[in-house]
Amino acid sequence: MSQRLVIDPVTRIEGHARITIQLGDDGEVADARFHVTEFRGFERFCEGRSFRELPAITSRICGICPVSHELASARACDALLAVDVPDAAKALRKLVNLAQLVQSHALSFFHLSSPDWILGYDSDPARRNVLGLAEARPELARQGIRLRQWGQQVIEAVAGRRVHPGWAVPGGVARPLSAAARERILAGLPEALATARQTLGWFAGTAADHQEEARVFGNFPSLFMAMVGPEGELEHTDGKLRFVDERGAVLADQVEPRDHRAWIGEAVEPWSYLKFPYYLKHGYPGGLYRVGPLARLNCCARAGTPLADEALAGFRQLGRGAVLSSFHAHHARLVEILYAVERIEQLLADPGILSDEVCAVALRSRRRAVGACEAPRGTLFHDYEVDRDGLVERVDLLIATGQNNLAMNRTVAQIARHYLSGQRLEEGLLNRVEAGIRAFDPCLSCSTHAAGKMAMVVELLGGQGELLDAATR
């Protein structure tokens, strides 16, 4: 008789989820599904609005990465105007996107995930959080909080507000950068850089302690997709797409984001509001690909800044070809933080960034456009169609967590196979399933554009669909 395990809700992720573990007749794990059970319908209520309002409206999808939505949206609007955005605006958008990467990665690494390693997966769940971390390792907690704060302060200094700045507009940005704001950012930069280096050094040194997680947490061959610069360097805002396979070989390169539909298919399953994107040429579900920090480091030829290039070389030692375990996404986040801090310094060193020419003014010139950028969790696409007056007829959003959907299911199944014994949901299994999901840093409010609180429900189901056990956090 086959059975099913359900974990519902999943904690310390952005959103609300339910996990079902399906057992086969032999009592072994047959399948696992990560359900996203909420629906917000953002795409519908953008319809009928002016496209010029979309950066402000779509940024409300998420309070963690509003900047990513705002930028992807503004880039789609640039394309509707058919303008070339002024260089200073391009640089400022890059800068804000990197600052957002720092704050979001710091949140994921320090606040949400590090309690699992510092306090242990089997420690008391009531203490296994950022407050417990502050007791056990006050310096690490302080550094993490300060690093995230700096990222937020950079966003505020450039865009005026930390959350939903309403600053990226069609054709550029609303305000130039002031010299005083540049100085404020630079003042906090050395500490951020030191934290990034120190944390990376510490975490890389603990690799031996994490061998089991690296083997079990989403460790399987798959494709990877990420944005890269013209020479294959790391690029989060202004690049084109590259697909690589599990050996690290490039399958497609310099794909225009506006052509993404020619490369990515989307399957729908009745049990989740998330769609299931796949690399079209390899079919569903064989075309499984991952996005996010792990994919970006697997796709890029080099980082493009000195310290991050060194760190990238160290990261590449974790695998042969591409690094396959999603557990290493944590490591990848730290490399990206280091890159972002270095790159922010480079961008600010160019005097052109203070230029007051930051917006191209134009009327709508196209009816359809796609904008993309690398959000902290992976590649984000905004695809718009508008009428003659610029009123929105169709909005289609392809979100990072949605693209990692298949990989997350496979990760849960892999962890359940390794840790499940019998027909009961033991604490140790639940903790590791959660931690496995958390390695993807999923943002469910974005991926379904759904409302919800952080929560996890896990159910264990038998072969006839009967509930054997359930656990709620």
Binding site: G48, R52, E53, H164, W167, V169, L363, D389, G390, L391
Partner: protein, 238 residues
């Protein structure tokens, strides 16, 4: 010119014969919320926020259209008036779709300011959220009926200052809408001179410039001051 003496909230005040109670309140620093009123345009008493109590009269009267009379005793603030004002603003907020977060006028909106001033911390009426289409047919401006409070400032400025009379109000009650020409798309209006005065006087984000991002709408109303001064001092008053 005759001078009239009356009391305003118990204080004796004097007024010229052409002065309204609202003029007197402004002159003496008595706070009175308004939305349809705008210095330089005619008064219509549409928003009813400046209602005051006149001793001896059972009806409340709008201060913006009420002339000062000899011996009047005016009360501008009482429990009843405060309750009514708050209700009025709540009804305005419930009537259409006011979503401040993504509105061009956010932070500079007179409806927001008045709501804060009269103490609206929530709306007790169900939101109607009528289906309203955006008119973005004009190359420079957009009309969002969802944010319109029917103050008719746009109608008056277009008629009284620009002289084009592009705007008018069509329909009745909750179905009333400002319309350009005879309810044709704004971009196809023959009378509109694209001067943008309607956009500058709009108290909310109902009329805005295409290029303004959310929260970026800055109103330029200097032309009203020039016009008022010229009318008072110069030969081209009408």
């Amino acid at each position: 010119m005759t001078v009239r003496t009356l009391t305003l909230d118990g204080e004796p005040v004097s007024a010229r014969e052409d002065e309204t109670i609202l003029d007197l309140c402004r002159e003496h620093g008595v706070p009175l919320p308004t939305l349809c009123h705008l210095e330089g345009l005619s008064a219509v008493g549409a928003c009813r926020l400046c209602l005051v109590e006149v001793k001896g009269s059972p009806r409340l009267q709008p201060a913006c259209t009420l002339r000062a009379e000899e011996g009047m005793e005016i009360t501008t603030s009482s429990d009843r008036l405060r309750r009514y004002r708050r209700q009025l603003v709540e009804l305005l907020l419930a009537e259409r779709s006011h979503v401040c977060a993504v509105c061009v006028a956010n932070g500079r909106c007179e409806l927001q300011e008045v709501a804060a001033a009269v103490g609206v911390d929530h709306v007790r009426y169900p939101y109607r959220h009528p289906v309203t289409a955006l008119d973005a047919s004009h190359p420079r401006f957009v009309l969002d009926q969802g944010r319109c409070i029917l103050c008719t400032r746009c109608v008056r400025v277009c008629d009284e200052i620009e002289g084009a009379h592009t705007w008018d109000v069509a329909g009745r009650g909750a179905g009333a809408r400002v319309v350009s020409d005879l309810a044709s798309p704004w971009g196809r209006s023959d009378s509109c001179t694209a001067c943008g005065k309607c956009v500058q006087v709009c108290p909310t984000g109902a009329l805005f410039e295409q290029l303004q991002p959310a929260g970026g709408g800055v109103k330029r109303r200097e032309f009203l001051t020039f016009r008022t001064r010229a009318r008072e001092q110069g030969p081209w008053g009408r």
